[in-house]
């Protein structure tokens, strides 16, 4: 399988210089390393994407992909994993996609600890619909809808994920590429639900590259859940002079997965199907 080109020939239509490219390149690199190390089989990777700029990633990959509905990549991925537990299911979602439209699914998938990997391309705005604010846009963010600036406080997806019992919680930043790749690798290899909020400034509608570079710092994985939660609260996604933005793995633990709890032992499509008519009609004999 080593000869498979992970990248497709599809022409990239992200804006020139878009940081989505970093996520794509990092993912490609991590996959190919893991594959060379015999840790994964490319034939058994499925990428599920939502809708937004990030979603184009599925066209740029030559492996199995499911470009799902806006906000619904996570339940789609859950279904895939249930049907075939041998698959490694990776979701690429956006901040509008998963924190607005599909937030319910994110919380529940974390709670179920379904073994899927969720990478959020968080550019703190809806870029594909030209720059409206999302739940993680900072207070004061100016858009065509709110020229006077966003009025609401942003949500804190890291705290939310910790409170929702996600078994792997991390934050990464596209301008720390090696660090991002390390987190991606660990997230993919983690058994259970992995969540990574990737800060990915939007060079057209919300260029926070400089701000985040100046305020981000790498962390060591906290020793306790309480410490992790406290650290997650250090940055509230507002952009303030005093902001400190911790990046790195906040929390990881091994817990029984959704598929294990469900007692799924087989890969369903390989199951032998046979008609059980005689047995079935016995169920309804008066």
């Amino acid at each position: 399988m080593a000869d498979i080109e992970i990248r497709s020939n599809y022409r990239i239509t992200w804006c020139p210089g878009c940081f989505n490219n970093v996520i794509l390149n990092s993912f490609e690199k991590v996959l190919s390393e893991l594959e060379k190390g015999g840790k994964i089989d490319l034939k058994k990777i499925v990428v599920v994407a939502g809708i937004g700029c990030h979603g184009k990633i599925s066209d740029y990959l030559n492996i199995s992909t499911f470009n799902a509905l806006h906000g619904r990549a996570i339940p789609t991925a859950l279904g895939i994993k249930l049907a075939n537990k041998e698959l490694k299911v990776v979701c690429f979602v956006g901040d509008g996609d998963t924190y607005a439209e599909g937030l319910d699914h994110l919380i529940h998938a974390a709670r179920y600890n379904v073994d899927i990997k969720v990478f959020v391309h968080n550019n703190q705005n809806f870029a594909l619909t030209v720059g409206q604010s999302t739940p993680t846009s900072e207070k004061g963010f100016k858009s065509k809808v709110r020229p006077e600036g966003e009025r609401e406080e942003p949500i804190n997806p890291l705290s939310l994920m910790l409170a929702s019992k996600a078994s792997f919680v991390a934050r990464a930043f596209v301008l720390e590429k090696e660090h991002l790749e390390k987190i991606m690798r660990e997230a993919i290899l983690h058994k259970g639900f992995s969540f990574v909020d990737i800060l990915q400034p939007c060079i057209v509608f919300h260029n926070t590259a400089r701000f985040i570079s100046e305020h981000a710092y790498k962390i060591e994985k906290p020793k306790s859940f309480e410490e992790a939660l406290k650290l997650s609260l250090e940055w509230d996604y507002n952009l303030e002079e005093k902001s400190k933005i911790p990046i790195g793995i906040f929390w990881s633990e091994e817990r029984e997965t959704f598929e294990e709890k469900e007692g799924i032992e087989e890969v369903f499509y390989r199951r032998k199907k046979e008609e059980k008519f005689d047995e079935l009609i016995k169920e309804v004999i008066a």
């Binding site: 199995s64 339940p75 789609t76 075939n84 004999i285 008066a286």
Partner: protein, 550 residues
Amino acid sequence: MKMKINVLIGGKAGEGIDASSQILAKSLTKLGFYSFVYRDYGSFITGGHNFNVISFSEKPVYSHELSFDVVIALDENTIQIHKKEFKPRCLLISDVETSYRRYIKINAKEIIEKINAKPIVKNSIFLGAFFKAFDLPLNFLLETIKEKLKDEKNIEAAKLGYEYSRKVEKLQLPKEKKEKFFFDGTTAVGLGAIYSGLDIYFAYPMTPATPLLHYLSSKREKYGIKTIQLENEIAVANAALGASYAGATCMIGTSGGGFDLMCEAMSLQGMTEIPLVVYFAQRASPSTGMPTYTMQSDLKLALNCGHGEFPRVVIAPGDAKEAFYKTIEAFYLAYKYNVLSIILSDKHLAESFYTFDSFEEPEIKVENFILKNPKSFKTYSLTQDGVSIRSVPGEAFVKVNSYEHDEYGFTTEDKKVAKVMQEKRMKKFKALEKEVSEKFEMAKIYGNGENLIISFGSTKGAILDALPYLKNFRFLHIIYISPFPKKIVKEEIERSKRKIIIENNASGQLGSIIRENTGVEIEEILKYDGRPFTSEEIVFNVKRWLSGRY
């Protein structure tokens, strides 16, 4: 014996009338009768007034009536509410004070105290009393109680009820005591799905589809199926598409409101061409409506759900047995043609019990139509009939896409490709339609009069029971709504003198579909109060219509 005996069992929610109705009907079926059980209950767990009707006869019976030969009243309220529906010689079995004459009064309290049982055994006491009143062999009742109820006190209770009762009339037993099948529409869909190789049933609880979630959950171990309840219907529909994409045979189930939430995913089905079977049990009225009551008002919703244009199969079985076979067809078509199959049921079909003589092995054999380890693979390969054989991740690289896409599944906005792909998706339905019209029963004709009643879905039962009382009528039951049996319907209409459509909704949805497909406008008898038609009502209304007074 009389054509049909109607027994009412009424009481408060939680008093056990549901179990006792099934026990009575099943015991009668074991004795050789055909029985039908109708459930009428509100949205409460305890209290209120619920009632069931058990209609039974020596001849097949497919519906209930609301004029009673026997009333088993667990409370006084039942008598007050249904007094007007007592037939002149109606027999009452109860323990309440009443001046009603034809009454077997059983002191249930005394029996319960005597055997130190829970108050709910009152049901079994009254069933015992019923068996004595009609001089029926008690052991048939006791056997069914043993099968259905855990508390052994019920046996003692039924015996004492029998003892305390008196014989009113001897009910002639049917001569033939053949093995029969007794089940509801929910069980039928569940068994059809298991037959079809169901792997995972995804659902979010919603009346009246919930019983299927419960039924399949009770069969998990036995048949190796999974039932997954997720956070909402949106998750349910999308997860099922994910699972079906990865090779599991899946079904989802819901009622109106949940179906609305799933519509976007149905449209995703149309675009991605991932097989999906939907069990849609209709309730009454818009919005939350009347959750525990019935209507056939979501026919057009099923036909039109999801944005964009894509084909779908919509099948509306008319009784429990039909629901079994049609569920199997729904699976077969979804997985062979990569389409959406909707099994359109309703509260009346889902929760009513029917009796049948026989059960023939289905002709369809189970297959999941998956290409194993193909040398080269394109998810949406263009073929003669528009059907692309699917594969699954692990066997091939499978790209599916909610955006318009090319043969491989890559996003496209190219006008030529977009046109070809839209045509491909529509074309495969032609192939499907051809197979369905050759192999499956899309509509069925009953009787041979020169006048015609047309209907669909669960209204079938009441019409079949009304037919013997309507001179010169035949009945066309439409089972497939999409693809629509245009030819059969057109021909039947053309060769009939007077024609009437009967359906359980306010706007005449079947009528408008018939008009769309045949160009013929037909008069309608409609009902939309949340209750199913009874045969008496149909006879009455058809006669009025014939005389120009409807």
